[in-house]
Amino acid sequence: MKERLNREIRISAFSDGFIDLDEFESSLELGKAIAAKQQANISCVTLDLRQCYLLYQHSSLYLDQALRLLRVASMDTKGKKLLRIMTSIDFGAIEPMAGVFFQISDEVSSGTNDDLVTVVTLINRYCETHGIDIRIEVYDQNATAGTEHPETEYVFPGASNELAT
């Protein structure tokens, strides 16, 4: 666990000025910022998207870059990799959450898919193939930084949503 934390890349989109992730340019710039973090032995990428406006059409521009970092890393690093997405958005089920973040992902599905159940299946398959876990953590928007616990987690592979205890 300690080893994993040492190789974690953490990006806070809001603090770094990427607030309007519902816009193409801002999403593209965040993607570039993530890609610039490329280094060996990355085991965890944490992307804090809280307080950022999101749009599913553009989320692949930065999330695909985060997945690529982990996929490339998985070639020379043993063990599971993890993509943590921190957000305050919650649609209450894994399908719409998969839609918001991965519906147009080239990395996960090599194209677009308008059936959200299929999107979930494709994410699960991608995770299993590349040894990557994806965890969407939903936080109370007023939680204090550093002391917060997610209220809900949506986990791939597994297609389950579980209430944090």
Binding site: E23, L55, F91, T112, Q141
Partner: protein, 350 residues
């Protein structure tokens, strides 16, 4: 040389309390179809106005205006300066122009008002600690789709960003509202109006509310048409397997029955199922579908209602999986004229 006949303008009167859902009570203005008309928007009796009320009223005006092929429009402003000032701050003149309701004469709108003491409008505002509101008008076909959606996003963000204390989840509200805006472009193609309102009293209790009125055909007709298309496609599919063929035939019959004879509660039931969206496969807007608008609203504490045709549902009162019985139970018939409207309220105390 023939002299033109000057007829009296058709009066479209604004409800005197142009606040909240009150304008839904106004009868539909039936104009003679397909003819030139002179319309006068009469605000003279208005003594209270807010963004929700104005957006609903303007949607009703757009519906009436669509009955005639051409029209000149004039306007009577309220006698109260405070009310006129609120209309000005809500951008009445700009919205009329954006909605294709340009005034025929260069009226000096906000100079017509008698300087009378401020009415109930000012009292209403004085009791509130924080209060801001805005109206966003959307008119598909009048410019580039992406630019028009960007305009709507900008306006919604300007509104949300004023809530510096972040009393509710802005980014989730944005996704829900934007889904409605995109539905207007992808299904209705007709003008829509979004009213946004935020009020907090000194007791640190507050309410965020929105109304989204789409002046198009509504969910019922769009879904019926879509189901009919599905039935046609399903009927064409043939399989070598006899059981599959029988199931497909039953499915086709069911879809045809639904599209032709289904009540709106049946249509709503179809639209609320996961994965059911009339947008599927259009390659432009994949969308989340109605179910996720409802679940997304519920998750962030919004009480979401839907008005369609002459009925109204509090959608967030329904629980998933949505049953026919429950949908029928929570539907309320109204005497209000047909209008597709989402209405959301989020109340909180700090």
């Amino acid at each position: 040389m023939a002299k033109g006949i000057i007829s009296k303008p058709y009066q479209i009167k604004a409800w005197s309390e142009l606040v909240g859902l009150n304008p839904l009570l106004k009868a539909h203005d039936t104009l003679p179809q397909g003819k030139f008309a002179r319309l006068n928007l009469d605000f003279s009796q208005v003594h209270q106005v807010d963004a929700i009320g104005l957006s609903i009223f303007l949607a009703r005006v757009v519906q009436a205006r669509s009955m005639v092929s051409d029209a000149t429009i004039t306007i009577d402003m309220p006698t109260s300066r405070a009310v006129a000032s609120t209309l000005e701050s809500l951008g009445l003149k700009m919205h009329l122009a954006r909605l294709g309701l340009e005034l025929s004469l260069e009226q000096r709108l906000f100079d017509q008002i008698d300087d009378v003491p401020a009415s109930a409008q000012k009292c209403l505002l004085d009791e509130q600690l924080f209060h801001w509101e805005t109206v966003v008008s959307i008119r598909p076909g009048q410019g580039d789709r992406d630019q028009l959606i960007s305009y709507a996003k900008r306006e919604i963000k300007n509104f949300l960003n004023r809530d510096e204390a972040r009393r509710f989840v802005h980014e989730q509200v944005m996704i829900i509202l934007l889904e409605m805006v995109k539905n207007t472009f992808d299904h209705s193609g007709r003008p829509a109006l979004l009213g946004l309102s935020f009020i907090e009293s000194s007791a640190r209790k507050g309410k965020f509310a929105f109304s989204y009125c789409d002046t198009g055909e509504g969910i019922s007709r769009t879904v019926r048409h879509h189901i009919k298309t599905l039935a046609t496609q399903s009927g064409r599919t043939e399989s070598l397997d006899a059981i599959e063929n029988e199931l497909s035939s039953e499915k086709t019959k069911h879809l045809i029955r639904l599209s032709q004879n289904g009540a709106f509660s049946d249509i709503l039931h179809w639209a609320l199922q996961p994965g059911h969206s009339t947008k599927s496969g259009n390659g432009v807007n994949f969308g989340l579908g109605l179910m996720y608008i409802v679940e997304g609203s519920r998750k962030c504490g919004i009480r979401l209602s839907l008005k369609e045709a002459d009925s109204m549902w509090i959608l967030t009162q329904l629980s998933s999986p949505y049953s026919h019985a429950e949908i029928r139970r929570f539907g309320i018939n109204t005497c209000s004229p047909s209008l597709l409207m989402f209405f959301g309220e989020l109340e909180y105390s700090r």
